[in-house]
């Protein structure tokens, strides 16, 4: 087995991993390696050909691949080591990575620090439970996106989309432009999952209807899909008898949510947050295992790539500081907790002694609220207030807390949202 020693190993070459690797290198780390299972860097951005990426960072509406291009060039300029077509099999708590590829064979990589940047994965048919047969033509939205945008296949002629998250909406437009008839978008919830601008530009521009509180209850066809049955659902999301409708189609596109891809993190036994379904992280996005960091959608699904890149940079800086002995891990961390109307917060812990001057706290509200005030409290005392015209569950919120507001012996920081 080939044995390697590196300072920082980044697992995953998507937006989080690219940003982490570049930042670690910029902070003076000597040997940085990116381990990527695909044939090229960029992750999911390479199949996101639509515009709207990088408004925060570049002040322009780039395509996903255009956004990735900036980071990939930077990786090449900085002589960061990249291993493609490489699968990580195991990470140990001694920060040893076992990985393999067709050039190096099996590898044992001893690391000074590790950044987990595996991203997230789509929910599949088995995770949303639909009755019926198992014909071809049931695909996740991301798979359809890859087939159409990279591999040049049209996977069907007439499609039904289940789920109104952004990927589903983007694919409704994309399939229409490529000549696939999109019969409609069906959403089990009473409110759409995606951003308003996507509903407007992807559905309304092309007169594609959206059916709320309606879901697919059955898939028909043996080898090839012949159609689906949809039905309206009640308050408990149970199908209402008598509302069933058969739709002939040869493609069912599932856009039913994303989950952080944490098999490696779980195997490593980093502490997980059941709310985010990702590792619990501190102000440098370090997990419960010293020297193991996490960034991007593996921590929680961010939606906005700008945030993913920012967390990658925080983790990359953290990894560099860890190697340079600049992180004091002896003092207990303070908890960051979700308060009223807040679903989760990231990071979940802070060590003020290590923190930079200001700390961004990412969070999502539980339901749509208008004219809100976000408050942050330190042991019950308000340290930050900010008003917003609206707070929506599909839009990640971020507030920056000034370090000076959190006194050293404080125990907890809490973020709440209320109307008014």
């Amino acid at each position: 087995m080939k044995e390697l020693n590196v300072d920082v190993a980044v697992i995953g070459g998507g937006p989080a991993g690219l940003a982490a690797a570049i930042e670690a290198k910029e902070q003076g780390v000597d040997h940085v390696v990116i381990l990527e299972r695909d044939v090229e860097l960029g992750g999911i951005l390479q199949q996101c050909i639509h515009d709207g990426f990088g408004l925060h960072r570049f002040g322009k509406r780039l395509s996903g691949c255009g956004y990735a291009h900036h980071f990939i060039e930077s990786v090449a300029e900085k002589a960061i080591d990249v291993k493609l077509k490489t699968i990580v099999l195991e990470i140990t708590d001694e920060k040893i990575i076992y990985a393999m590829n067709e050039v190096d064979g099996m590898m044992k990589i001893t690391c000074g620090a590790i950044v987990l940047a595996m991203g997230c994965r789509e929910r599949t048919r088995s995770q949303v439970f639909i009755w019926g047969t198992r014909p071809s033509g049931v695909l996740t939205a991301g798979t359809v996106q890859r087939y159409i945008n990279m591999e040049g296949y049209l996977p069907g002629e007439k499609a039904v989309i289940l789920g109104s998250g952004d990927i589903g909406l983007i694919m409704a437009r994309r399939m229409t432009l490529e000549g696939i008839e999109v019969e409609g978008v069906y959403e089990v919830m009473k409110t759409p999952g995606g951003l308003t601008r996507n509903i407007s530009q992807c559905l309304k521009d092309f007169q594609i209807p959206m059916h709320l509180a309606t879901t697919v209850v059955r898939i028909h066809g043996n080898k090839k899909m012949e159609g689906v049955t949809v039905a309206q659902v009640d308050e408990k999301r149970q199908p209402i008898q008598g509302t069933e409708r058969f739709i002939p189609c040869d493609l069912l596109v599932l856009a039913v949510g994303l989950i952080p891809e944490n098999e490696l993190s779980r195997q490593l036994e980093v502490e997980m947050d059941p709310r985010t379904k990702g590792p619990i992280v501190d102000e440098h996005f370090m997990t419960s295992i010293p020297g193991v960091f996490a960034a991007g959608n593996v921590v929680t699904v961010f939606d906005l790539v700008d945030y993913v890149s920012l967390t990658g940079e925080i983790a990359g800086r953290g990894a560099a500081k860890f190697l340079q002995g600049k992180l004091n891990l002896d003092l207990p961390a303070k908890d960051v907790l979700p308060g009223d109307a807040v679903n989760f917060v990231v990071p979940q812990r802070i060590r003020t002694v290590n923190a930079e001057d200001s700390i961004p706290i990412y969070f999502r509200v539980k339901e749509e609220m208008r004219k809100v005030e976000v408050t942050a409290t330190v042991d019950g005392e308000v340290c930050m207030r900010k008003k917003h015209p609206i707070a929506l569950p599909p839009e990640m919120m971020v507030e920056t807390i000034q370090l000076e507001k959190i006194h050293e012996d404080a125990r907890e920081l809490r973020v709440s949202v209320k109307v008014g």
Partner: protein, 126 residues
């Protein structure tokens, strides 16, 4: 004629009603100035960025993603798409390379939104 739009300038998503009265365009329902501007543009001349793919040979991918250098009139979208379907390229391609100049006489170019290298052809075993 009265038209209704959802404003997409910010997450507030105001419901706009736009109509023309005596040669003047009136926007109702907007919460801010930017919403008024959006309403007028959507009413008179809606524009969108165009992103799609074109056929490419000799690369590890079958399609090259392309993007317009500026927004284009929405009602001509399928005309532009038709023109783009005719394109066949050979790798290598550089990001920013012009794929169609001045598409549909719009003054806007369509450019490659990524680079694609040429793949080395494997020698076939005799």
């Amino acid at each position: 004629m009265k038209k209704e739009f959802t404003c997409i300038v910010c997450p507030m998503s105001c419901a706009l009603t736009v109509e023309e009265k005596n040669g003047e365009i009136i926007v109702l329902g907007n919460g801010c100035k930017r919403g008024k501007e959006f309403g007028i543009n959507e009413f008179t001349d809606p524009k969108r960025m165009v992103t799609t793919t074109v056929k490419v040979m000799g690369s590890h991918l079958k399609r090259l993603p392309v993007i317009s250098t500026d927004e284009l009139p929405l009602d001509h979208l399928f005309v532009y798409m038709h023109e783009l379907y005719q394109v066949v390229l050979e790798a290598p391609v550089e990001k920013g390379q012009i794929i169609i100049e001045n598409i549909g006489n719009s003054g806007v170019d369509i450019v490659a939104s990524r680079s694609l290298k040429q793949i080395e052809l494997k020698k076939e075993n005799a």
